[in-house]
C-alpha cells in the first residue's frame, strides 16, 4: 500500500524542520572557514587579517589541505599574499604526504589481504584516495581503515603480526574491549609506516544501539578498478560517514567529517542517477535513518549542500521531535567547528563536547557494559594521576 503524498508545507515550517541551524552569531573564524569551503572564489576578496584567521582555523580543523585545494582551483596562486602561499603550500604538502603514506601502507599489506581470499573493503579516507574521489583532494587521514569479514580477521591479524605489525594499545583491558565490544581491532602500527592500520569487521559497534547490516555492506560493495579492493557502494559510503560523524564519535571539531559528507553527496549526486532514492532506501534497510537525517540537515545548513526537493521534503517529514533537534543542533553548533585559534574553549563548549562524547558512548554500548567501561576508565585514570603525582 503506498503512503499518501504529504500535503505541501509552508516554507518557514519546512526550513525549521529540515535544518540543524548553525548558531546565528557565528564566530568569525567559523564563518570564514565555512565561506572558504562553500565558495573558494570569495577568498580573493579577503584582507590579510581575515586570511590569517582562516588559515589558522583551517589548520586547527585539519582542513588546511582541503582549503588549499579549493582555493588553488578558484584563485590565481600568484595573486595571493606571500604568507598565504606559504600556508596553502604547507597544506598541500601535508595532504600529499598523507596520501602517499596511505598508498604505501596498502601496498605493504596487499599480499596479506589477498591471502585471506575474501573481499576487502576500504573505508573512509583510504577509499576516497584509492577511488580518486574529489573528497580525497586535500584530505589528512590519520589512519587507514580496512574492513574484512569477521571470519578472516583472526588469520589476517596473525599474519600481519608475524610481519612486524604491533598493537599500539597493549593494555589487556583495552584489547578485550576492542575485541568483544567493538567493530574494529585496536590500531596496528609497523616500523616504517607513518599511519596506523584499523582493521574493521563492521562499521558500527556490534552491541550498540545502531547497527548496520554488515552482510548487505559486503554484498553491495563496488570493486575499485585496477585494484584488488572494494569500496562501499555510494549510498553506504555516505551512511557510514553519517553514522561515524554523529554516532560513533565525540563530535568535537569534526567539521572535516561533515566536509567529507558534503563532498561525497555532491559527487555521487552528479555521477549516479538513482543516488538519492537509493540513499534513503539503504538508510531504512540499515536502520540508519536518524544519522542520515542529522548528516543531511547539517550538511545543508553548514555547507549548503544542494539537496533535491524530494529530499528536503523527506527531511521535513522524518524530522526528529523538536526538542531533540534543538538540543542536538545546539550541541553540534558548539562542537563541530574547530576551537577559536585566538582563545581558550568556553566552558559551555567544553561541557557540550563532553555531553556528545557521553552520548556516543551511550550509543556504543548497552547500559551495564557502559557502567563497567566508565568505572574502569575512571579507575585507571586515577592510577595514572597518582603515578604522575608521585613522580612530580
Amino acid at each position: 500500500m503506498t503512503r499518501p503524498r504529504p500535503t505541501p508545507l509552508p516554507a518557514a515550517f519546512l526550513q525549521s524542520r529540515a535544518m540543524l541551524r548553525p548558531r546565528p552569531l557565528m564566530p568569525e573564524h567559523v564563518r570564514l572557514l565555512l565561506q572558504a569551503l562553500i565558495d573558494a572564489r570569495s577568498c580573493a576578496e579577503l584582507t590579510e587579517a581575515r586570511w590569517e584567521l582562516l588559515l589558522r582555523a583551517a589548520r586547527a580543523a585539519r582542513l588546511l589541505g582541503t582549503v588549499a585545494t579549493r582555493v588553488e582551483a578558484a584563485v590565481p596562486f600568484a595573486a595571493l599574499p606571500v604568507f598565504v602561499q606559504r600556508h596553502l603550500a604547507a597544506g598541500r604538502v601535508e595532504a600529499r604526504f598523507r596520501r602517499q603514506k596511505t598508498l604505501h601502507l596498502l601496498a605493504t599489506i596487499e599480499p596479506h589481504l589477498r591471502a585471506t581470499g575474501a573481499r576487502t573493503i576500504l573505508l573512509k579516507g583510504a577509499a576516497c584516495i584509492v577511488e580518486g574521489l574529489p573528497a580525497a583532494a586535500g584530505r589528512l587521514p590519520a589512519d587507514v581503515d580496512v574492513m574484512v569479514p569477521r571470519r578472516v580477521l583472526d588469520g589476517l591479524e596473525q599474519s600481519l603480526r608475524e610481519e612486524g605489525w604491533e598493537f599500539e594499545k597493549n593494555d589487556p583491558y583495552d584489547q578485550r574491549y576492542y575485541r568483544a565490544w567493538s567493530h574494529e581491532l585496536p590500531p596496528l602500527q609497523c616500523a616504517g609506516q607513518a599511519l596506523e592500520l584499523d582493521l574493521h569487521h563492521a562499521i558500527l559497534p556490534p552491541l550498540g544501539r545502531l547497527r548496520a547490516d554488515t552482510e548487505a555492506l559486503f554484498a553491495s560493495a563496488v570493486a575499485i578498478p585496477g585494484t584488488p579492493y572494494h569500496a562501499l557502494c555510494p549510498a553506504d559510503q555516505v551512511l557510514h560517514a553519517a553514522a561515524h560523524l554523529f554516532q560513533d564519535s565525540d563530535c568535537t571539531g569534526r567539521l572535516r567529517d561533515l566536509v567529507d559528507i558534503d563532498a561525497l553527496l555532491r559527487h555521487f549526486a552528479a555521477t549516479n542517477a538513482d543516488f538519492w532514492p537509493t540513499l534513503t532506501e539503504r538508510a531504512r534497510h540499515h536502520r540508519l535513518l536518524r544519522p542520515l537525517w542529522y548528516a543531511l540537515a547539517a550538511a545543508r545548513a553548514w555547507l549548503h549542500t544542494p539537496l533535491p526537493s524530494e529530499i528536503v521534503a523527506w527531511l521535513a517529514r522524518e524530522a526528529p521531535p523538536r526538542p531533540m533537534r534543538a538540543l542536538f543542533g545546539a550541541l553540534a553548533t558548539r562542537t563541530l567547528p574547530p576551537l577559536d585559534p585566538d582563545g581558550a574553549p568556553a566552558l559551555r563548549d567544553v561541557i557540550a563536547g563532553k555531553l556528545l562524547e557521553a552520548r556516543a558512548a551511550w550509543l556504543r554500548m548497552p547500559p551495564p557494559l557502559l557502567a563497567y567501561h566508565v568505572a574502569n576508565k575512571w579507575w585507571r585514570s586515577l592510577g595514572s594521576t597518582r603515578a604522575a603525582a608521585a613522580g612530580d
Binding site: A60, P81, F83, A89, A90
Partner: protein, 307 residues
Amino acid sequence: MLIAEVAPAQLRGELAACGVAIDCGAARVRVHSDVPELADLLRVVYRGYERSDAAGACDVAVRLRRARGLRRWVRAQVELLIDGSREMEPFPADTPLPLLEWGMNYALATRLNCHLLLHAGVVERNGRAVVLPAMPGAGKSTLTAALALGGFRLLSDEFGVVRFGDAHLLPLLRPVALKNESIDAIARLSPDAVIGPRFPKTHKGTVAHLAPAVEHVHARHTPAAPALIVFPRFVAAGGVEIQPLPRARAFARLAVNSFNYEIVGPDGFDALGRLVAASDCYELRYGDLTRAVQHIGRLLDAAAARG
C-alpha cells in the same frame, strides 16, 4: 621603534591585549601574555626587533598565561597555547621565557612544511651559508652563538630552513638558547654579548638566551646560498680536527636530523640533494670555540673560492 625602546608598561599592555608580533624572517609569530615579567624578558632578548604592527598577518599565535585553577597559586605554573590549543606541558611559573621559546620552536616546526626544515644552526658570511647540523652533545648552539659573535651573520640556531627549488637557506632568527656551561663560555668569549637571565631549573638544566645583534635582525629577510656543511662535535680540552665527509653520508645524516624531511617527500629530497651537492661537507671536532670559529671561516673561504 625597537622592542627595547618601548616603555615597559606599554609593552606589558600590548602583550596582554592585541599581542606583540615577532618577525623572524621566514615566519611571523604573534605573542600574547598576561604574565607581566614576560614583557621585561622580551625587551632584553628581542631587543633588536622592531615592534612591528601586531595587526599584520602572522603565521601562528602563541599565548603564554598563568595556569588556571589551583596551579595559579599552588606551585604556580605557566602554560602555552598555540593557536588556542594546549600542546605542551605547563612549566613552573618562574620559567616563562624557556617555555615561550620551546613553544615557538614547536609551533614553527609543525607549520612550515612549505620548506625543508633541518635541525641545524645556520650562519652566513659573504652571502654563503654554513649549516651546522645538531647532534647530541655537539654543542651546536654554542658554536652557532660563537660564530654569530665572531663576524658571521646569524640566521638561526635551531632551524635550517631550506627553500624548495634553489635550496637557499632562509633566516628564522630567534634568540640563541644556551645551556649550562655554554652560557659562561659565550659570556667569556664576548663580554658585550647581551644574554638574558638564567633559568636554572629547566629539564635541560640552566638555560639563558642570547639576543641576536641588531644588524642580524635587519638582515633577517636575506637568504644565503649553500656552501658549507659542518657536523660539529665538542670534545672538552681537545684540539681542532677536521675530516671531510662524503656527500652521500652528509645527506643521510641531515635527512635523519630534520624536523619534516619525511613529510615534504620529493621536494625535500630534491632540496636536500641540491644543498649537499652545492656544499663542502666536513666533520669538526673542537675543544676551543675561538679556534673552531677560525677553522670554519677558512673552510668557508675555501668553499667559496671553489664554488
